[in-house]
């Protein structure tokens, strides 16, 4: 037949390809038994089944880890500085920069080593796991890592599959098995997989080849031919493939042949780290760093220039008291200049401190604990709190400008309830609380009882359609009912009193809508009883059981947005039932039917229900034969199977007649509306990817741009689009002046029109963006996952690159979550994929409010202050050192002792700012939450823009000048003690340094609005430690030091009244402008103390 020819052809091609080493498919011999018919048996080489997720081994850890660490620009910079210190004669010893660098590198290496050790452990656990393999008919226990491609593996219930397997044999009678793929894509519902047909005979003697494509990461794509030694050829799809990482359920044991192993399994191929997101603050830091680098270089240049200018004066080149060595005399002038330049760089390099990176990292790491610790995020229902997947973005939470939210499961609870249906234009509603009267039709009471407006015939057809057109499974009641509660998708039992208690059953489906529909049908008397070897059993109103043979399932996919089944009834009628979104059904049915129903659908949609239309079609046997052949052929296709299937689907799903529509309600999550309102008041723009959740506040003027509005004129959509877009954007409404809020509605179809209609697309895009940016709320309904990401991307890359946040709960939101600056996952009912890909995960939407308005705001303020403070304190640290160069002949003489240089950032001034950046609540949490507008104060990176940076820089310069020149004037007479003895250069530096440490610490104390005992401890503790250290450092002749520069310098300084007085004077004077500002600045928010009291 044609098939076998095709198969042979494929064989030939594949064999050819293999020889040519252009392999795009692999041949696997089941059980390593060569097929007698094929030519020579070349055992193919595949990788073993070892999973390696670890990055390092014992041997390459050090070089590889060091290499990776020094690829970071900051580390590299410090390494260079260190090397310069080692090579060139520099003022400070290499220890001063080597020690902090060593510390940072070591800590990071230990952390990464530990993480890798954990990965090794996990790998080993997987790799050493014992599995059963059939070898020449005997069962043998083997370590998982020793499985080879082609081995026949046995897996028992609740075990995970050790590699990707093709299901050969199952203990279940219907040759299926159930798996959950929770650890792969987060979907915990049971999926049915099928054995390869016709392999019932003993596995020991089975000799077959599998021709499958090379490993690729797509979990849902798998194209394979299975041939039983040339004789018969089967095409296999993903439903035959058991993925490594999935778990066998409800099936005692299965046998499968390994097709992909080790790092070639789909799980391993999918295990790729997400690209790391970087926060805006980090970009600000880098910008500031650049400024400081310029300052550093220019300082070094100025000093180098000065040195040579000064040296060119008579007598100063080489005064008799300080003669050069022979080596210096011989050295090249330009080389000298260069080394001098490097020396100055080293001397001033403290202006860019290593410790800032450490502190920022530490702040982020420790700070993120407060989010996961927050008990307000704890949800008693799922017994979980918030989850922080990355700590890099804490402060970004305080900067969000656009919120993109998914509707289902995020804004809503994702527990579906069948609300009403509409059969043949008549509305059927079954709700006690139905108070709503509309002009159309009124129902009172269950449909089954009375007011049968549509004919009984239509009604039953519709209900049968609901019962048949789905992929729901009935959970066999095995007595263990407790799993029901855990089952994420599941549904479970019924609440309607009309249901017979004996029929209390669970349904399992991949989407809750389906279950809701089946349950809805049940309410009206049609109960789906389950599948019995390809027969669907339905109990009708008269309690008779009808059986339908399931011929084909035309699966749901997000592009078609509909699904169909083809069934054969007892009496031999072949019927196609189709359900799907209105936009995908309406074009495929007759217009008059649409007119009858569309109104209901519209209305239900605006009320926020999920609507589905149901259509059906009677197939003649010829039509069916044609469809059947088409479907089979498409399924066998090796290339472009998807497209071919799609084409057949589209071909089959035409000429249907619309029989009704359903409305399923997905209730809003608790406090969803309030949360959204708060976010809007906080200045965020909320874009929802679905319709109607009371996002619109009253008085919002709605602009609608949907397929419907476009089709009003009956003209070409593109023309209308252009018209409407221009009308919206150029209308006399002036966006800025009016107090009016605008809401904007657009649907997926129109959006794709906007994105890729004509050459003017970019023009439309900018118009669209312009409109959207002026609306407080934008609703995007009926979006494909990719479109969601597209929208996020568009906003992200628009002018001003606003910070975007995506929140979603399902796998369809992952693209959006990954695309946005911050991705938030809801620990909802649609599995864990969104959570895994998110940066933060929270149990409920309402927690977003505290996460953004509370934590986000605080973290932003904290880290912004941390960054500014760090730059400031190092500026006023190094500025005196720079100024001193004018008084020491630009000779790179350090003003401070090496210990002070090293310890300043590590010990004396690091802890207070760290404590501040973890604990500060300039406004307390409650006020931030109740006063959403406060969020606007920090919007647009307000605290890290150039003007605050300039302020801090000027402050640093002012204080640095003050420190240096204050002491300079004091030292115009260095006899500062009452015994007439004089102070030298180290005393000078120590006085400056003391003023410096006290000033920067007290400056922080002044900025601290929230003094916990920890703040007190570290601030006063740091100062005390400084005093103690200085005494200690100067109090002992240190045996390991050659130079005892500071010996008793500090103590002598404290003996001098003048030194005390100048220290006090300078501290006060440098803080004076700050105090003035603090007092004169009017408090802008209510004092937090009051609020806290009222709360208690």
């Amino acid at each position: 037949s044609a098939l076998s020819i095709l198969a042979n052809l494929t064989h030939v091609i594949c064999a050819f390809g293999r020889d040519e080493r252009r392999v795009d498919s692999r041949t696997i011999y089941v059980g390593h038994r060569p097929c007698p018919a094929t030519d020579t048996f070349i055992p193919p080489k595949f990788c073993d089944n070892r999973i390696v997720s670890s990055k390092y081994t014992v041997w390459n850890f050090l070089p590889k880890n060091l290499f990776e660490q020094f690829r970071r620009i900051a580390n590299f910079y410090f390494l260079i500085i260190f090397l310069v210190q080692v090579i060139v004669d520099t003022p400070t010893s290499p220890v001063t920069s080597g020690l902090p660098l060593f510390f940072v590198i070591t800590v990071t290496a230990i952390k990464q080593g530990y993480e890798d050790w954990l990965r090794h452990k996990a790998d080993n656990e997987v790799n050493k796991y014992l599995v059963t393999v059939l070898e020449d008919g005997r069962r043998a226990r083997k370590e998982s890592e020793k499985i080879k491609v082609g081995d026949v593996v046995e897996v028992v219930e609740d075990e995970t599959f050790p590699c990707d397997l093709i299901l050969l044999q199952s203990s279940r009678e219907d040759e299926t098995c159930f798996v959950t793929t929770a650890s792969l894509d987060g979907e915990s519902n049971h999926k049915t997989h099928y054995t390869v047909p016709d392999t019932e005979k003993g596995l020991e003697s089975l000799s077959a080849t599998v021709e499958c494509e090379q490993p690729q990461p797509d979990l849902y794509k798998f194209v394979t031919f299975f041939s039983l030694c040339v004789v018969s050829l089967r095409s296999l799809g993903p439903e035959n493939l058991l993925l490594k990482g999935a778990t066998l359920k409800n099936t005692q044991k299965i046998y499968g042949v390994a097709v992909y192993s080790g790092m070639e399994t789909k799980m391993a191929l999918n295990y790729q780290g997400k690209s790391q997101k970087r926060s805006v603050v980090e970009k600000s830091i880098n910008a500031f760093l650049l400024v400081y680098l310029c300052i550093l270089v220019s300082k070094a240049l100025v000093c180098t220039t000065l040195k040579y200018v000064w040296q060119s004066q008579p007598g100063q080149e080489e005064p008799w008291y300080n003669q050069k060595t022979q080596k210096e005399k011989d050295a090249n002038l330009y080389l000298n200049m260069f080394t001098d330049f490097l020396s100055f760089m080293v001397l001033f390099n403290f202006i860019i401190p290593v410790s800032m990176y450490v502190t920022v990292e530490m702040q982020k790491f420790l700070g993120s604990f407060f989010i996961s610790w927050d008990k307000d995020f704890f949800d008693p229902e799922i017994q979980e709190g918030a989850l922080v997947n990355t700590s890099d973005l804490n402060e970004e939470l305080g900067q969000v400008e656009y919120v993109f939210t998914d509707k289902t499961g995020t804004l809503t609870q994702n527990s579906m309830e069948f609300i009403e249906c509409c059969i043949d234009g008549f509305q059927y509603k079954n709700r006690d609380s139905s108070t709503e009267l509309d002009g159309f039709c009124v129902t009172d009471g269950p449909v089954s009882m009375l007011q049968q407006k549509a004919g009984r015939e239509e009604e039953e057809l519709f209900l049968r359609a609901l019962c048949l057109c789905h992929t729901v499974q009935v959970k066999e009641s095995t007595g263990q009912e407790d799993w029901v509660g855990d089952q994420v998708d599941g549904v479970l039992g019924l609440d309607g009193e009309m249901v017979h208690p004996a029929e209390l059953r669970g349904f399992i489906a991949s989407s809750p809508d389906e279950v809701a529909l089946v349950k809805g049908a049940m309410k009206y008397g049609f109960t789906f009883l389950g599948m019995e070897s390809k027969n669907m059993r339905v109990m009708n109103r008269d309690k008779d059981v009808e059986t339908y043979e399931l011929l084909h399932v035309l699966n749901f996919d997000p592009v078609r947005r509909r699904m169909s089944v083809i069934v054969r009834s007892k009496c031999g009628d072949i019927m196609l039932f189709c359900k799907g979104a209105d936009s995908s059904i309406f074009p495929r049915v007759r217009q008059e039917e649409v007119d009858r129903i569309s109104m209901h659908v519209e209305r239900n949609a605006t009320e926020g229900y999920r609507t589905l239309c149901v259509a059906y079609k009677l197939l003649s046997s010829e039509e069916y034969a044609q469809a059947d052949a088409g479907l089979r052929e498409a399924r066998l296709a090796l290339d472009d199977r998807e497209e071919k299937l799609m084409a057949v689907y589209n071909q089959v799903e035409t000429g249907m007649s619309l029989i009704g529509a359903t409305a399923v309600e997905d209730r809003l999550q608790e406090e969803a509306a309030e949360t959204m309102e708060a976010l809007q008041r906080a200045g965020m723009k909320v874009w929802s990817t679905c319709y109607a959740c009371r996002l619109f506040q009253r008085g919002t003027e709605l602009l609608e741009l949907t397929v419907r509005t476009l089709e009003d004129g009956g003209r070409r959509r593109e023309e209308r689009l252009h018209e409407v877009l221009s009308a919206f954007s150029f209308s006399p409404r002036s966006w800025t002046s009016a107090k009016q809020d605008y809401g904007f509605i657009i649907d997926g179809a129109t959006l794709s029109l906007v994105f890729n209609s004509s050459p003017d697309s970019s023009h439309y895009k900018s118009l669209f963006l312009q409109i959207c940016q002026n609306c407080t709320t934008v609703l995007c309904c009926r979006m494909a996952p990719l479109q969601k990401a597209q929208i996020v991307n568009m906003v992200k890359n628009s002018k001003g690159s606003p910070i975007t946040l995506s929140i979603g709960d399902g796998a369809n939101d992952v693209s959006m979550i990954l695309e946005a600056h911050i991705g938030i996952g809801i620990k909802g009912k649609e599995g864990r994929q969104a959570v895994r890909n998110s940066d933060y995960a929270i149990p409920k939407l309402k927690h977003l409010k505290k996460l953004l308005l509370g934590h986000g705001h605080l973290y932003y303020v904290r880290i912004a202050h941390l960054v500014q403070y760090f730059f400031y304190k190092n500026l006023c640290f190094i500025l005196p050192q720079f100024l001193y160069q004018f008084f020491c002949g630009s000779s790179q003489q350090p003003l401070y002792d090496a210990a002070y240089l090293t310890m300043y950032n590590i010990c004396f001034t690091s802890m207070p700012i760290l404590a501040y950046s973890l604990l500060e609540q300039h406004i307390c949490m409650e006020v931030l939450m109740s006063n959403a507008t406060l969020y606007r104060d920090v919007a647009k990176n307000a605290m890290l823009r150039w003007s605050p940076f300039l302020y801090w820089t000027l402050l640093g310069v002012y204080q640095g000048l003050l420190f240096f020149f204050g002491v300079r004037f004091l030292f115009s007479n260095p006899a500062l003690q009452d015994n007439g003895q004089v102070f030298g250069n180290w005393s000078y530096g120590t006085i400056v340094f003391t003023v410096l440490v006290f000033t920067v610490t007290l400056k922080l104390a002044m900025d601290t609005r929230h003094w916990t005992w920890i703040n007190h401890f570290v601030i006063w503790g740091s100062l005390a430690f400084y005093m103690f250290f200085s005494f200690f450092w100067g109090g002992i002749i240190w045996p390991f030091l050659r130079q005892q520069r500071l010996y008793f310098v500090f103590a002598n300084m404290l003996r001098s009244v003048s030194a005390w007085l100048v220290i006090i004077l300078l501290i006060l004077l440098s803080l004076l402008p700050e105090i003035l500002l603090l007092v004169l600045r009017k408090p802008r928010w209510p004092h937090s103390r009051q609020v806290r009291y009222t709360h208690i």
Binding site: S372, F378, Q892, V982
Partner: protein, 339 residues
């Protein structure tokens, strides 16, 4: 209800720390605190300033340049560096008693003791009496590490080599005769430098420790002869040497040379004519430097320094003025106070 009582391991700890609810003091600087505070601080500063200013005013300072740049100066003859062992005189008269104890400083200007290579050019191990470093001084001492014959220089390095070597003798002219004013050379260096940091090698006589070494080229006599009269002021613990070794911070500096505390002059220098005899050895003109002598008495705040008093007065008045300004601002706009 049941569920809320259910404590699970997943539930975050409800402690004040984890919930960021640590009791906290939230200071608010209100006008009621700040204005009186400023007034108080201002007044205190003005008080200190006045005290400092008056104290500083009461300190007498007599400063004389003796570089010999002006031809009128007696030291002009010595300013030629080729002229060795030149002595010159500096005469001055006091109309009133120069209250004691009087401290006698020498000052150098445009002299960069603060240069890095200069400061680093010494061997602290050598100076703490470690004989190993007498044989092999640290290389930082170069070019004063070894002499031309490869003999180690002790004490090595530029800093020690360039030790100030002008000597002074002060005479009061009483009835035409010169009466020597006794100088006290003790207590001019830091106690810790003298007693702990710098040590002579424990070899007696001290001279033996220096066998095989040479004196710094600029020195006229070796270290062990710096003060032959007093072994506790000889060698590395010679106080003049210690004073010199403590580097000055700025290029214009003064160093303590002697105190006048003894005999008739314990109360100070009485009014009269004085003659300072200077053994002019130290060349400074080659690099544009100046030398001077300074007689000064000191107070609790050290030597004369107008800066501190004036700064305190200025800052103090600034505080008071600012509190006035704030008072006006507050009275006018009357910010709502939280209490």
């Amino acid at each position: 209800m049941m569920k809320e009582e259910l404590e699970t391991t997943n539930r975050p700890d409800n402690t004040a720390f984890t919930q960021q609810r640590l009791p906290a003091w939230q200071p608010m600087l209100s006008a009621g605190i700040v204005i009186p505070g400023f007034v108080l601080i201002g007044l205190a500063f003005i008080g200190i300033g006045v005290a400092l200013f008056i104290t500083s005013q009461n300190i007498t300072v007599l400063e004389k340049d003796y570089t010999g740049v002006e031809t009128t100066s007696d030291c002009y003859k010595c300013s030629n560096p080729s002229d060795k062992n030149c002595t010159c005189k500096l005469e001055f008269s006091l109309s009133t008693l120069f209250e004691g104890p009087v401290f006698f400083y020498y000052g150098l200007s445009n002299y960069f003791q603060s240069q890095r290579s200069y400061g680093a050019s010494k061997d602290e191990y050598q100076l703490s009496g470690d004989l190993d470093y007498f044989k092999t001084p640290i290389s930082a001492c170069s070019p004063y590490q070894y002499d031309a014959n490869q003999n180690p220089i002790v004490p090595c390095g530029s800093l020690a080599n360039s030790m100030f070597n002008d000597t002074f003798k002060l005479y009061q002219i009483v009835n035409g005769t010169k009466k020597l004013v006794p100088f006290d050379g003790k207590g001019i260096a830091w106690w810790t430098d003298y007693n702990i940091k710098y040590r002579n090698p424990s070899v007696t006589p001290l001279k033996n420790a220096f066998n095989g070494t040479v004196k710094p080229s600029f020195w006229s006599k070796p270290a062990y002869e710096l003060d032959t009269s007093d072994p506790s002021n000889n060698g590395f613990v010679n106080q003049d040497f210690l004073v010199w070794m403590r580097r000055a911070a700025l290029p214009d500096f003064r160093k303590l040379y002697r105190r006048i505390t003894e005999g008739d002059y314990a109360r100070g220098l009485p009014a009269g004519n004085y003659s300072l005899e200077i053994a002019y050895n130290y060349p400074v003109l080659s690099f544009g430097g100046r030398k001077k002598v300074v007689f000064s008495n000191v107070s609790w705040m050290g030597g004369k320094n107008q800066f501190l008093g004036i700064a305190y007065l200025v800052v103090g008045s600034l505080c008071v003025v600012m509190s006035m300004v704030m008072l006006i601002v507050y009275a006018k706009f009357k910010f709502p106070e939280d209490d």
